[in-house]
Amino acid sequence: MKQIAIYGKGGIGKSSISSNLSVNLASEGLEVLLIGCDPKSDSTINLFGGKRINTVLDLYKKGVTDPDLMVFEGYNGVKGVEVGGPAAGVGCAGRGILVALKTLNKDYYIDRGFDVVIYDVPGDVVCGGFAGPARDGYADEVYIITSGEYFSIYAANNIAKGLFNLNVKLGGIVGNMRDITKEERKIKVYAEEIKSQLINVVERNPKIYESEIEGKTVLEKYPNDLLNIKFKEIGKKILSNKKSKVPTPITDERIRSILGGFH
């Protein structure tokens, strides 16, 4: 079993990539569990035709602690979980993630024979709780999603700092394109700069958000689209990845000078 956690700047495409990756790995015959760790509970929504599943924390609040009641089967047999959390502006979502992961009980899904567990984590590493999925015993390695834009790479670097502090391995970086100049090169150079690697890049493609309008992944809405091959390639590379290691974050000045060098 391989457990991975997806991090990256807010809105960069973590949930889109996680869900598209999940369904494509499932069509290769793998048992996939996608765990959405965002209190807004939208990571798995495209596995369920736009419907929201019961969240771990809502169930927990009602006294339900059986993991079987928290895992739902979605498109292509992918199992989905949403951690859930407090309404915006109250409580502590970070603590929520830690409690939900504990309630879910990782031994349980190890027992269930999953081949891949994907944690879709919100935003940057904002507090201790959000780092939960990257800690010992959960994700084996982390993947960062970024575009070639400065703020996205800046956020990626902040996450790399968090991983460095927590001594957690980075599997690599997945590019999600915003169609800026020399974008793939920029991401690749940054990845190597922090002693990591560029796994692959996902092009900017309207089919991704068009599918989402119907609560679907690209595989469900456009089964024959080449994008699906791209997600399968990414999945394969992640599953066979032997090059994950703790990243060495760089300074803000260094990021600026790398990106500036392309112009």
Partner: protein, 358 residues
């Protein structure tokens, strides 16, 4: 310096200060058990202390509804005039909007919020924040706030220069056996020697420490010698409740025919009253000084002295400071709650026994 010794935190100090302010109900917005030792003592003293018993679930989803519920319940159960809501580590980390909860409960005309938690440094910070909140709520004036804030900062200084916060870790100690100290005092009186007693007590502990002053005076009446009495027993300074403590003690001493020769300050002025006491004693003739209460706030003198504290962790620094004997009144906190009269102290009893007083 990072101090390892167990000691009170700002939450506990906030609760004590609410009691001083004659607040009827304190609601700690946090887990049950938070500050429970202090809470139980304060309940003995007449203030109701409840918590919102926050749970793991509340940590995640917030507990403002629970706070409103507890506010409403406490109001119905205890019909308080004033309610103080005190923060805790958990409720403040998750950013509970307590002010809004107070408004939503409809009790904001009788309840006020002390924004404090356990990780805000010295315990005195909790007392200062409470006084500030009480000032904003209209319970005390700005002048009184400033005076007390200054006193609390001086108290913090005393603790870190000469008391428990002086070093990283201080092991508790009982100091010298009470009987040895009592016999030493009565023997001096039998030899017709002069003893200066400096009562420098912090607030309610005076009900206990005053007993030592009383016992020495009674022993002197029986055995001989003479006593100079100094105490921070001003009935003019501080909150109503604190002034009442001083009045109680003066009345008690009067009825025992014991007079205070010099008032060194108010009951919450122990950080400066010690210095006033020593200034007064400078040109007085005596053979032994007995300092009781907060001896660490007294400047050192080059005369034989005995220190009586209620903190087993104050013993080592006092011994280092050069006191001949240092001894501890161990039960002070539990015995003084709710009383209006001087209570028996262990050293006082030992002195009475040694002097043969029934």
């Amino acid at each position: 310096m990072n101090i390892l010794t167990p000691r009170p935190n700002p939450i506990v100090a906030a609760l004590y200060t609410l009691r001083d302010l004659d607040v009827d109900v304190a609601i700690l917005h946090g887990p049950s058990g938070c500050g429970f030792r202090a809470a139980r003592l304060l309940e003995e003293d007449g203030m109701v202390v409840v918590t919102t018993s926050m749970t793991e679930e509340d940590l995640i989803f917030g507990a403002s509804d629970k706070l409103i519920e507890v506010l409403t319940e406490a109001n119905a159960l205890f019909s308080p005039k004033t309610i103080g809501v005190v923060g805790s580590c958990v409720s403040m980390i998750i950013g509970e909007n307590v002010k809004k909860a107070l408004i939503d409960s409809g009790l904001n005309n009788k309840a006020f919020f002390v924004e404090i938690h356990g990780c805000m440094g010295a315990n005195t910070r909790g007392a200062i924040e409470t006084l500030k909140a009480a000032m904003d709520f209209g319970l005390i004036g700005e002048k009184e706030f400033k005076r007390q804030e200054n006193m609390l900062l001086l108290a913090t200084e005393v603790e870190s220069n000469k008391g428990m916060a002086k070093s990283k870790y201080i092991k508790p100690s009982r100091g010298t056996d009470l009987k040895i100290v009592a016999d030493y005092i009565t023997n001096l009186l039998k030899e017709n020697k002069k003893i200066a007693v400096v009562l420098n007590a912090k607030k309610e502990t005076v009900y206990l420490f005053a007993d030592i002053l009383l016992a020495i005076n009674l022993a002197s009446k029986k055995l001989g010698g003479s006593v100079i009495n100094v105490g921070n027993l001003s009935t003019e300074v501080g909150l109503l409740r604190i002034k009442r403590y001083a009045e109680d003690i003066i009345n008690n001493l009067n009825s025992n025919n014991v007079a205070i020769n010099f008032i060194s300050g108010g009951m919450d002025e122990y950080p400066i009253a010690g210095k006033n006491a020593i200034d007064y004693l400078k040109d007085k003739d005596f053979d032994l000084m007995v300092a009781v209460g907060i001896p660490q706030a007294l400047p050192l003198i080059d005369k034989e002295s005995i220190a009586v504290t209620n903190g087993p962790r104050e013993v080592p620094p006092l011994e280092e400071a050069g006191y001949k004997y240092v001894t501890v009144e161990i039960a002070s906190h539990s015995t003084v709650m709710g009383t209006r009269e001087i209570v028996f102290s262990e050293l006082g009893e030992a002195i009475r026994n040694s002097a043969g007083i029934q």
